[in-house]
Amino acid sequence: MATVADLNVRAGRRSELALLGLAWMVIVLARALVDYNAAFLELVPLAIYGAVWAAMMIAAHVVLDKVAPSADPVLLPAVFALNGVGIAEIRRIDHAEGTAFADAQMIWAALGVTAMIAVVLLLRDHRKLRRFTYTAGVVGLVLYLLPLVPGLGITVNGARIWISVFGYTAQPGEFAKIALVVFFAGYLVTNRDTLALAGPKFLGMRFPRPRDMGPLLLVWAAAMLIMVYERDLGASLLFFGIFLGMLYVATQRLSWVLTGMGLFFIGGSFAALTIPHVRARFDAWLHALDPEVYSSGTSEQLVRGLFGMASGGLFGTGLGEGRPDLVPYAESDFIIASLGEELGLTGLMAILTLYLIIVQRAFRTSIGVRDGFGKLLSSGLGFAIAIQVFIVVGGVTRVIPLTGLTAPFLAYGGSSLLANWIVIALLLRVSDMARRPSEEVA
């Protein structure tokens, strides 16, 4: 099972430092542009801002150099760049609206980097996580269902994926995502042989034995529960999509994926027809520009986002020169539309490419690492980022119905940023093992 593609790579710590320098320039220039275009440019705060980013980057780099010297060198610069561009855009919307989201997000970024460093320092071998397989499963499920607890969960925009404790709000689903990937990886690596057993043949394809369908049905039921009670297609799709992707990696059986997609399609259609909130989201997606749907308000946010992106065109209006503030939630749910407007299609493509690089590095790690758990963990985390990006960007660009998820690293939101930095920490940890020269592997 531990098939190894022998990697003969340079550790690449120096490349990482160079790429971090590039990311730093992007981050500081973006903020300088934003402030300049708002006639707000002051050199001292800009210098402090640059110094803080440099400090975070150097800290992360030095720690990796010490405790994970073979870790993937591209992940960190790509994530820093996304995080910094996101904060610049949030700051730009702050200028327009008089809010102070960017400062808060900066604190969350610092906490995220700290959390990342802590995880890399404390977790020296990712295989230890396998011990917590079922604990992670329970934690994940509880976190996912937390918003349903009366008095704790709050409803934002019709979806109930937030909790509120002492005035602080959080999206526990973002953390649940990590716990569930750990659980799925641990569970699947143990049970993959059973799940891969051949069952009846149907339409020229071998389907799993009905008696092995239990886990799939269970996860499907949980996904449906999230969709029906939290009324959020995004969280449900993310949760179920991660499972299907990992199930496929573990069993190599396309029939599992098709069965799962069929089940989800049935459940999703049922929800779309019966749950008013989900139905409205579907209506807004299919008939966004329809005057009736627009004036009823259901598609207004989506359409305003489209207007913004259209006005950006190929090269964008320039940072700080568009009107992203005309779109509700321009700093969080719609930050992709805001960036599309000001950086243009070119900028949007660049951002998508950064995400693609992160995901492909995760997959590369999965191929390189020896242990099955590590393979599933890294490919699962990578796929989680991929699906989340697809759900968010697809929602804003009308590929799929709009949901309440936010763009990883870009959007305003502490839970999301913190959780995704932890995802990166785990990926860095696994990649260190994957890329370490063979003889050094214990």
Partner: protein
């Protein structure tokens, strides 16, 4: 487990490519539609951020963009706004654009294809996109005279250059001042607009081209006469002209204005019938000619066709398959015959221009911000409505109207004026509309005019086209001739 990871990475690549395709669709391929969407306020904000080109009349800007210190950057400014409102329309951050502000929008804001090189130049020079200036065919003094003459009476005046189709004057009354709608204070604009909308004399309507079309009354007899001349009638052909004409198939009759007798022996020439505007003679002539003949002649002058000058002009209407009685009524411009004042001006201009109707237009020259000419409107033949000999014969008959007929109030000393009055019934209890269409000089026409004063204007029930509308037309023609003498027409 490596193989499925590789496949998964291909799937992720496909997902990202899908997103990139969607982004390209929204931001490039379909961007134009989204940017044009009226619900998209961004376009408005961006437009206001650009320098919008001016409207120019007689070499002077009458509408321009003034730099101001607010988020819109420029304040659209209208000098003597109400005088040109019918042509320019307004440009409002709340209610959008109307009239030429709308039709010429892409030139004014600089985004038109024809301004590509100018835009490119601006781009390289690091300058802001600059809109083009639009030079109108209107003449300020003619606008002024027409507006003064109409005063606060409801109605419209249109003056055309018969040889080119240039719209020399287009005045509608009452009107409004676009300044009141161009403010950047949305509450104020809202209030002003609602106030204009609430008025029952509809000041926002351009009566000259797009109001409710009017029954043309006796001015329509010009169409009958043109049709008759083409059918072989001569100006001295005798017509049946009784004091009262029975309407076939009904118990009703048609009489003449004030119940007058047209001729002692119940016959008179075509020329005399036009001169004194004898209803019974033309009603009978209409029935003799058959409606289809009159209808075709009306269409030859533009009826039932909607044109853009570039403002869109409401099509003038004709009855649908009228019976004999209805034909008789239609022949004197009643029943279901309707016309815009511009249409009636085109009738006068067509007769004046040897039977050739030129296409009316309001925009003369478009200049880029560096003053290079982007576009000049070339005069264009719209319809060949009559042959030359018939047109000249009809001109002579119309001179008779002004010399010694119903239109003597339009006489100008030393100049032969051709004209036709109209007094259109509007119903039992409402005063008639007063019409006058004319051109001068008759032998070398420089200006053709149509005037309508709704419901008799200041004199109400006693109004006739000759009494109310003819003096207005006279003043406008006189000013036109003065401009011509100075070489300004």
């Amino acid at each position: 487990m490596n193989e499925p990871v590789r496949r998964l990475s291909v799937i992720v690549l496909l997902l990202v490519l899908t997103l990139m395709a969607a982004g390209s669709w929204i931001q490039v391929l379909n961007a134009n539609d989204l940017n044009q969407d009226p619900r998209n306020v961004r376009t408005l904000y961006r437009e206001y951020g650009n320098f919008r080109g001016p409207f120019v009349v007689d070499g002077e800007s009458v509408v321009w963009s003034e730099p101001v210190n607010d988020p819109y950057n420029y304040q659209r400014t209208y000098a003597n706004g109400s005088l040109y409102a019918a042509a320019t329309g307004f440009y409002s951050i709340v209610y959008g654009r109307t009239a030429l502000e709308q039709t010429e929008n892409e030139l004014l804001n600089g985004s038109a294809d024809s301004l590509f090189w100018t835009r490119l130049g601006n781009l390289f020079a690091g300058e802001q996109q600059q809109g083009a200036s639009i030079e109108l065919t209107l003449r300020s003094s003619l606008q002024q005279v027409a507006a003064e003459q109409l005063g606060d009476q409801r109605g419209a005046v249109v003056a055309l250059d018969p040889q080119t189709g240039e719209v020399l004057a287009m005045v509608t009354s009452p009107t409004y001042d676009p300044t009141s709608l161009a403010s950047h204070d949305t509450a104020e604009v809202n209030e002003n607009y609602q106030e204009l909308l609430a008025r029952d004399d509809s000041p926002l309507v351009n009566r000259a081209i797009a109001g409710d079309t009017y029954p043309p009354g006796s001015t329509f007899k010009l169409i009958d006469a043109a049709a008759a001349l083409e059918a072989g009638y001569k100006p001295d052909t005798e017509l049946y002209a009784p004091q009262e004409l029975d309407l076939p198939g009904t118990t009703r009759t048609i009489g003449n204005y004030g119940g007058a007798t047209c001729a002692d022996n119940d016959t008179m020439t075509l020329s005399d019938a036009l001169r004194i505007s004898c209803n019974t003679a033309f009603a009978d002539l209409g029935m003799d000619l058959q409606w289809s003949v009159v209808e075709r002649k009306a269409k030859d002058f533009g009826w039932t066709d909607s044109i853009d000058i570039p403002l869109s002009v409401t099509a003038s209407r004709l009855p649908d398959d009228p019976n004999e009685a209805q034909t008789a009524m239609s022949a004197i411009g009643q029943f279901d015959v309707r016309a815009t004042p511009l249409q009636m001006a085109m009738v006068a201009a067509g007769i004046a221009n040897d039977g050739v109707v030129m296409k009316p237009y309001l925009v003369d020259t478009v200049r880029a911000s560096d003053l290079t000419v982007v576009d000049v409107t070339e005069p264009e033949v719209y319809k060949e409505a009559m042959d030359r000999a018939d047109a000249n014969a009809l001109t002579d008959m119309m001179v008779g109207v002004v010399d010694s007929g119903t239109g003597t109030a339009a006489q100008i000393g030393g100049v032969a004026v051709a004209g036709k009055t109209g007094t259109a019934e509007t119903g039992q209890d409402t005063p008639p509309h007063a019409w006058f269409v004319s051109f001068a000089p008759a032998d070398d026409p420089k200006i053709a005019v149509a005037v309508i004063v709704e419901n008799g204007g200041d004199i109400g029930n006693e109004a006739t086209g000759g009494a109310v509308a003819a003096p207005i037309a006279r003043a406008v023609m006189q000013e036109g001739l003065r401009l011509d003498a100075e070489g300004d027409l």
